[in-house]
Amino acid sequence: MKLNAHNFKENAAKALKDEDLQASLAKLGTGFPLKRLAAAARLPEFEALRDQARDIKDHTLRHLDFYLEKFECKVQETGGHVHWARDIEDGRKIVYDICESVGAKTVTKGKSMIGEEMAINEYLEEKGLIPVETDLGEYIIQLRNEPPSHIIAPAIHLRKSHVEEAFRKTHTELPPERNLDEPEDLLKEARAMLRKKFIAADVGITGANFMIAETGSTVIVTNEGNGDLTQTLPRVHIVLCSIEKMVPNLEDCATLLRVLARSATGQEQSVYTTFSTGPKQMDDPDGPDQFHVVILDNGRSRMLGHDTHDMLRCIRCSACINHCPVYQSVGGHAYGSIYPGPMGSVLTPAIYGLEQSCDLPNASTMCGKCEEVCPVRIPIPQMLRSWREKQWEDGPVPILQRLAMSVWAFWAVRPKAYHFGAKIKMRLLGLLGRKNGHFKSLLFSKAWTKSRDFPAPEGKTFQQLWSEKGGRRS
């Protein structure tokens, strides 16, 4: 998708006023987090598993080249193909070439964030193919022609009326008087419509939550079963993944799976966790004839060994997003990136460049909730700060902000002058504010007083009072 992160502030302002969105977000804020809490409480080993999950990913990243090569080798041994894509262009072309080589017309798609990153649907459409998203949420937003607003619940910003509207507009072959009032009705219709697409598709594209070096398998984790139909029914199965999805073996994957669903939706396990290894085997009655894995880099190899290295541990569970007070306030679209919330604010600048996304690392209160819930213990606030440091060093920081900070720093390291100035100012403010105990507006801090009263100071600074009292100074 096209990045729209430079409009964060305007997008956020709009989102705050969008009542439908706010209703959805209110539900999200209590839904996933409480379920996660319950799931974690039920598994005494949860915290220890998180440590191991972190260590597994760390180990893999440190030896990523080794595991990537092993994986490639295994995929080939089991009859599949591996394609390397250094960037989005590269990746799209690979996918299209595969489709073209089998004369594909319709392509079904399971949910894939790498697919979103590549904007693969747009590309295939341009080339005359018909890509169909099959995850219910993805299908809905595809019909509405909008990007996902959440990495595992892409249509979370919508109400059922939006879905009804999209279905009525698209499924014109169905009787217009049909009833679509309830979510059940909408699901039933989507299920029936998509059934036909699954069966007609020539190529099925899925994402992957993990790649397993030991076996050359890719793993998808879903609740709907659409991913499985997508990769079983067509002749060709294409997997889109990125280099950091690697894990060494099945046992490592098991550990990560134990923390993934619990962190994401609070489920003990997602409904379908499917390992795909090569194309259909000799005696198999069904399954695809071809198995292709497209491994995308798109800036990730640059993150290794650097400030945002740890971000590559991310298993896309969305816990950080679900728990983020900023995301809970403005939703995913405000971020203008397919990766919203805390994880996105670290990842987006790495993928698209900091100039394109300078608001994102700043749009955080640094409350640390994301790090608290991240199953692989990514120190997200620290990484956001590292982006801020880059911005400060050579990036676009508003001149006023720079100025304010250096003025503050100038005084802060000159305590004598600072205390003198503070004394006068607080005296003044204290006098002015005595009547109400607060200010409704203050010239120098509109951003504060727009929606909050500013407390009046007591009048004297502590340093001043301490001196007056003759308190100990050394």
């Binding site: 306030s329 209160t365 440091e389 607060h438 909050r452 500013f454 407390p455």
Partner: protein, 255 residues
């Protein structure tokens, strides 16, 4: 406490110094009563966290150097703020990761730096406070104190020791209040929205007073509450523990 008096350097924090000296006096009182001798170096202003979180490492370091120089001589350094204490304890060493000499000094300082509530309970082993407050109170856990320093039970232990104090927990006591330092100025609308959630959570408890350990958050919460016309009082927890509620009006309210 037995043995020698502990020599404690009080890191006042810039917000307390400027806006609410009573908090510092409360801190002094509580620690003195528990057998500490409190010193307040004049050469202190800001811990550098705003600069640090803005990505301005250079200025953050300059401020940190000053704090280290001024405070390393004490047995303990105590701040009535989780976020300033966390800055010194967690981030100073990080700030000097590439300068061995400063790094060592930062680590030494880190080891003896505490947030006030944690110092009182974890180090001084205070269990009793001699004060009464017949109020229904709720507590806001500020993010830095909670997540960077693990401060959760300490203020509660002390609050529960106050006679008459009825503590009711907010459902989302641990949720950010939207302050976030410069965040509340840069993204004022979002900050307000988050502050509103916090206010709602507080109101739901039907407490008539909300306490916390960080003045930044408390100013934010108080500012939003009074703007909304609510009468819930906001105070730093130290004021209550030291029995100093009569010395100063609640934050953002007329005395």
């Amino acid at each position: 406490m037995s043995g020698e008096e502990k020599n404690v350097g009080l890191f006042v924090t810039c917000l307390v110094d400027l806006f609410r000296p009573t908090v510092a006096f409360a801190a002094v009182k509580l620690m003195s009563e528990a057998g500490c001798s409190i010193c307040v170096p004049e050469r202190q202003t800001c811990c550098g966290q705003p600069a640090f979180n803005s990505g301005d490492r250079h200025d953050a370091r300059k401020m940190a150097e000053m704090v280290i120089e001024e405070f390393e001589k004490f047995d303990y350094v105590v701040a009535p703020s989780g976020s300033c204490a966390a800055m010194i304890k967690k981030h100073y060493p990080e700030l000097f990761s590439d300068q061995a000499d400063w790094h060592k000094r930062a680590l030494d300082l880190s080891r003896k730096t505490y947030e006030l509530m944690s110092f009182l309970t974890d180090v001084l082993d205070v269990k009793e406070v001699e004060t009464t407050l017949n109020r229904k109170v709720t507590y806001h856990d500020s993010c830095s104190g909670l997540r960077e320093l693990g401060i959760k039970d300490q203020p509660r232990t002390l609050m529960n020791a106050v006679e008459g104090l009825d503590l009711v927990e907010g459902e989302n006591a641990e949720r950010c209040c939207g302050f976030g330092g410069t965040f509340c100025l840069k993204y004022s609308d979002i900050s307000t929205r988050i502050a509103d959630d916090k206010c709602d959570d507080i109101l739901k408890t039907e407490a008539d007073m909300v306490l916390g350990g960080d003045l930044g958050c408390l100013m934010n919460i108080a500012g939003r509450l009074t703007r909304r016309g609510e009468t819930v009082e906001v105070r730093h927890v130290a004021e209550v523990l030291a029995g100093m509620c009569d010395d100063v009006a609640p934050i953002s309210r007329k005395g």
